[in-house]
Amino acid sequence: MSSSNTDFVLAVEGLTVSFDGFKAVNDLSFYVDKNEIRVIVGPNGAGKTTVLDLICGRTKATEGSIKFRNKELTKMKEHQIVRAGVGRKFQTPSIYGDLTVFENLEISFPRGRSVFGALTFKRDAEVLQRVDEISRMIFLDELLHTRGDLLSHGQKQWLEIGMLLIQDPELLMLDEPVAGMSVSERRKTAELLRTITKDRSVIVIEHDMQFVAEIADKVTVLHQGKILAEGTAEHVKQDPKVIEVYLGH
């Protein structure tokens, strides 16, 4: 399928992926605007995580196109997609437990990404300043020299968000960023999300409708790999189909 160029940051058109005949994502199209916060909701197995996997190149699409700033992502490798400006946070916090918070952030700093670059990488003022700035933002400035695996669950989630922020991506994708967090952590996270989404587009997968309503510009409801409904949180909440398959439970 060919698709035309658009003004959207992300344009997903006719996206399909099948695993052994099972279509986890089926002819999906949606568009994300500049500086938009898009929340994807849906019951388990609806294909939410798969959509993120497809965008960031972790899973290869069977059909369809994904354009990021009019650049086709489906043919690109993961690291190229990242370098193009797409950041991805995983469902379970993925940080490096053997490294300190500082080193976790430093590795994510977008410089010296080639073999030679990594060998000659220097911890200069720019790096230090960026790490300092981000660590404050994610509430970890006191813990810079703590090993990653000693952090609490919520802190790990923040750290991973911080690792994305230091890359300064244009599109940020977060998979259940508040899952497993305490109420106070959740509040802080919502605040964090609001600050970090100022200059970028964000796609969030989330279950908690209250949290969704709090942050979302637009909500997409997925069901069995297809879009069930799309619109503002209020609009979606009142859609009878959505109530039946999802909210009713």
Partner: protein, 388 residues
């Protein structure tokens, strides 16, 4: 290089480690051992090159190669080919039907030196070949495997198969390679007899020097961002990938580096032992080399050296007194290290010895606050140069 930079590269504990190892290898052993034993130590040290490479590949990169013997062998054969050509001068081989070619070629009806032997007339070429050929070979394997994300057990088995293939080839093509006997009876280097006592001392120290060179490179890699990336990859490969790194390239690099180390070890082996044979290429020696690394501690570059020395020394003495028990001991060592001491000797040291040593070090040096542990970098936030 600025002071801060140097200190990042060489924390105090590592300076101590380098110093102790240097003291042992350069002073203690040569003074306390007769030449025969020292030559043995030199031979064991050649295995520590391989173990050192495995620390980087396996310990840091999480890539277990069961075919490091291939690279050890390639390096060793390259060296042996050069020496054999010299040993096969027309005067030395006058009784052959074709004088001037290695004896085994003559027995196999070859009448001239094969094309791939020709460049080994040159020592310069040989020295380059020792490092470059195994690296290219590793690069090919690495690209094919890592670009397609083969890893873990699959990679281990495939490297094992490569070792099997190379062994069969070397043994089968005896006219070109010396077959199962290997390349033997190496005598001189530019007319200088390499079998004399003096030569053995020189080669021992050359070997130690090369080892320190490799240790230095390994230390640099380990302390660079690449070293931290390897640790990160081992834990969360996907996260590294989604931080914009092409993970395969780093694996390929470290695999090539490990192979180059192994090859240097092989060349040193040939110089000190005086021959090279396919027995070092095969599966069994390749796996044994992994155990040297595991015993020393798979995360410690110094551990690799001690591990290789200790296991081989134990093998020699054990097999002298209790030959039947040796395999039991070796088997138990494999199981014990893996199950009880996965971090090997270095793990034991950093748990029980290092804290004391660090305290002592701190007392003797008027130091600021100091972090312990290996993977940690000093917390100092000052810049390492550049525009600060």
């Amino acid at each position: 290089m600025s002071y801060a930079n140097l200190r990042t590269l060489l924390p105090k504990n590592d300076i101590l480690n380098f110093a102790v190892l240097a003291l042992i290898l350069v002073v203690v052993l040569p003074l306390s051992m007769d030449l025969f034993r020292l030559n043995l130590i030199g031979k064991y040290l050649t295995y520590s090159f391989v173990a050192l490479g495995l620390v980087l590949c396996w310990g840091y990169g999480g890539i277990l190669s069961l075919g490091q013997g291939v690279f050890f062998g390639l390096g060793g054969y390259a060296m042996a080919m050069f020496l054999k050509i010299e040993a096969s001068s027309p005067e030395n081989t006058a009784i052959q039907s074709t004088p001037g070619i290695p004896d085994f070629m003559d027995w196999n009806q070859l009448t001239e030196l094969p094309w791939f032997w020709q460049p080994f007339h040159s020592l310069t070429f040989t020295v380059i070949a020792i490092i470059v050929i195994p690296s290219i070979f590793a690069y090919i394997i690495g690209v094919a495997m890592f670009k397609r994300r083969v890893g873990g057990v699959y990679f281990a088995i495939i490297t094992q198969a490569v070792a099997a293939i190379l062994t069969i080839l070397i043994i089968g093509q005896q006219g070109y390679t010396g077959g199962v006997n290997g390349i033997t009876d190496l005598r001189t280097l530019f007319g200088w007899d390499i079998r004399t006592n003096e030569a053995k001392y020189i080669f021992y120290f050359l070997c130690v020097f090369m080892l320190f060179l490799c240790l230095g490179v390994a230390q640099y890699v380990r302390k660079s961002k690449l070293g931290r990336l390897l640790v990160a990859m081992r834990e969360m490969e996907d996260r590294v990938r989604f931080s914009g790194y092409d993970v395969a390239n780093f694996k390929i690099f470290v695999f090539c580096l490990g192979s180059a180390f192994a090859a240097i070890g092989g060349a040193m082996f040939t110089l000190q032992v005086g021959f090279m044979s396919p027995t070092f290429v095969g599966i069994v020696p390749s796996i044994e080399m992994v155990i040297f690394c595991a015993v020393g501690g798979r995360l410690s570059i110094f551990g690799a050296v001690y591990g290789a020395l200790l296991v081989n020394w134990a093998k020699s003495t054990f097999s002298e007194s209790f030959p039947e028990l040796w395999l039991f001991a070796m088997g138990a060592l494999f199981i014990g290290v893996v199950m009880a001491f996965p971090d090997g000797l270095a793990g034991l040291y950093s748990k029980y010895g290092e804290p004391h040593v660090t305290r002592l070090l701190d007392r003797f040096t008027s130091s600021k606050s100091k972090t312990s542990g290996d993977s940690d970098l000093p917390p100092e936030m000052e810049a390492e140069g550049g525009n600060s």
